[in-house]
Symmetry: C2
Subunit: 410 residues, 2 copies
């Protein structure tokens, strides 16, 4: 017997019929002798409806009240799944964030889990009971108020619960059957990975692969929670395979690059003739940080006669704001001209194997240049490198790197 | 400065726009210097949607899970109203049943309030804060699970909260502007009462007037909560009058009959030639009680040669079941034939003045007979009498009694 956390997202619980289907998946694992806790999201569309109401009530709503409103979505699903499980002959009860409790900090709207008291859930296992835990929510215990973890937070609820109750595995049921070497809509030859290391998954999630929330991968990595991404659309009686996110040591296959991620949500700003002296970088980036704008890639050209060019990227949504802030700081920074480009994309190759293989990125630069893809900026880290290119070349570049590193399906 | 509880039902909070209108009503009272707690129902239609999902998940759902699902409706409204109040410049926070807490027994689905800890709400008053309390819900503190009070329970939440925080008045905002001498759709000359005694209101609510939940009137009566029924559709800046439910002593106007109630939800069963001996009534009514069927009126004819006829009424929804149960008990009871009629209505006249006035009912019997209305059964109590008649005569009978007792508007 092992202990299992199963997590189902919004599309998997979009209707009562689909919730009954989820109950069949759960029953399969219970019948196999496992102790099961299920974490559920709100029914698809419900969270958007609730958020829309909050915005309608006040454009700048109180985040604490927003949390009370929005957390109701998962509450409904948890109760309905408990009912559906009982109907299927599986003893079950729902657990809301304040009941478990799942203690978080007071950052309403994007709270962080501090601790989970799994004792009630585990006591339920002793009575043969499935625990249906409302995802995405917790409680700030000092104030006694409901908190939410931010969009996609149910993944994090599931992984953190798995860590708290020392589950053997956390199964994330989603609308795809695993993690792919890249987006199959762009590269039809993309392959589902059988296994991927936590570090790789973390980079992929950060770099644009949307299959898991970044925070949930961090939690899985820190606590070593073996996390299995699989499809909720499989026949509950004959489920297919998925992708296991696990420790590096558990991965047999030795590939230098394991996946290609991309993001079109990038915009580039370039400053010409900036003085190459201490304090300039601070003059550029402090005002952006103060405005809550995340800067991603930063590239500084080689200095010439004490002057340099500086390029950086921000999220597309922040572009206009960032541009205006830099323009307003022209005197403080000192530059001759400012340029910007929203039609850019960031392509990244990820692989733990890069640590031990030199020249991995260099091969990419050559392959892209052979296809006529101009590289606007480059960043590298221990297990990934990213290139910024014109957005029009996104698919071409992704396919090129996917083939280059031998990721295409046979 | 006085302390006020305001309660708004589902149609009053059906949309965010209507919730903003509620915020204007609340702001008026806050601006007048009152300490205000607001109790809200779920947005109109939401509770039905949630109940429908529970039924779809399992015809015989777990009441505890049903409560967790259904209580989410009031949770959403409470958060949204708090946001709307803040937007209107009124400090406010939401209170869910488990947060206040509103402690109930464990009768999930129709729990009774045991106690309300108003200290948090009152502390909020000290900070100039309006308390927005989710109606209809509580918590069973031993199990830590959400309970609901049954349909219409938000009225009871409001009155019980008013008692707990020693409010000077409890205003029930509804879609009518008060309690009428009878249903204005049946009698256009029906008048809004300015005041009505708790006991009278209790009878009216029990006998078919749907303006307040029976339980809420009981609680108001026991705790002496002055309860004011008024319209949420009034202009928030110039609200109209309503009906005050209060102690008998506070009512100046002295009317023998204050209101006429009616219910079409009655069905009659008659047994012919029943032995008039001890134990027969038990043989008839015990099996019905065991099946959870409420019997309302019971009439037994004068005995003739040791035999009698027995007539009683049950709710229309229970009629077929009750009929079958009695048929199956024919041997145990002993009767010659059984008859039934679903097309009957119960008309009731209510008034505290009946205590001191004789012959009030007799005048009604004569007036009805003059109109050709046949009376099938009669029951009386200290402050009301009811007659069972053919349903087709409902409107005629109500209008007749309404005029007879001088209730018609001038």
């Amino acid at each position: 017997m092992s202990r299992l956390v199963m997590k189902f997202g919004g599309t998997s619980v979009a209707t009562v019929e689909r919730i009954r289907n989820v109950a069949r998946h759960v029953k399969r694992e219970v019948d196999a002798g496992h102790e099961v806790a299920v974490v559920v999201s709100a029914m698809a569309g419900k969270t958007n409806e609730l958020v829309g109401w909050c915005r309608e009530a006040a454009p700048l709503y109180d985040q604490r009240e927003y949390d009370a409103v929005v957390a109701s979505g998962e509450q409904v699903t948890a109760g309905l799944l408990a009912i559906a499980l009982q109907e299927a002959g599986v003893p079950a009860r729902s657990w809301l964030g304040w009941q478990t409790p799942i203690a978080t900090d007071a950052t309403h709207g994007s709270a962080r889990i501090i601790s989970i008291d799994g004792s009630g859930v585990v006591a339920g296992f002793g009575r043969g009971e499935v625990a249906v835990v409302a995802g995405f929510q917790g409680v700030h215990q000092e104030s006694g108020r409901i908190t939410t973890l931010g969009r996609g937070g149910s993944d994090t609820s599931a992984v953190a619960l798995a860590a708290a109750i020392k589950a053997d595995r956390c199964d994330i049921y989603t609308d795809v059957d695993g993690v792919y070497t890249t987006d199959p809509r762009v590269v039809p030859k993309a392959r589902r990975m059988e296994r991927v290391a936590f570090e790789e998954m973390l980079e992929m999630a950060s770099l644009g692969a949307k299959v898991l929330q970044v925070r949930s991968v961090e939690v899985a990595m820190v606590h070593g929670v073996r996390t299995y991404v699989r499809s909720s659309f499989d026949d509950p009686d004959r489920p297919g395979e998925g992708t296991l996110i696990c420790n590096e040591e558990d991965i047999v296959e030795d590939q230098v690059v394991t996946g290609i991620a991309f993001s079109r949500d990038e915009a580039q700003i370039t400053l010409r003739h900036v003085a190459d002296k201490p304090g300039v970088a601070a003059a550029v980036f402090m005002p952006l940080a103060d405005a809550g704008i995340n800067v991603d890639m930063i590239v500084q050209a080689v200095s010439e006669e004490g002057m340099t060019d500086m390029t950086f990227t921000v999220g597309t949504a922040d572009y206009e704001r960032a541009y205006a802030i830099i323009e307003n700081s022209r005197e403080a920074i000192g530059f001759s001209s400012i340029g910007g480009e929203k039609e850019v994309a960031k392509i990244s190759a990820i692989g733990i194997g890069m640590r031990s293989h030199a020249g991995v990125a260099a091969r990419a630069f050559r392959a892209l240049s052979e296809k006529g893809v101009n590289i606007r900026a480059i960043t590298t880290s221990e297990i990934k490198f990213s290139v910024l290119i014109d957005e029009a070349y996104t698919e071409l570049a992704v396919r090129t790197l996917h083939s280059l590193y031998g990721l295409d399906a046979a």
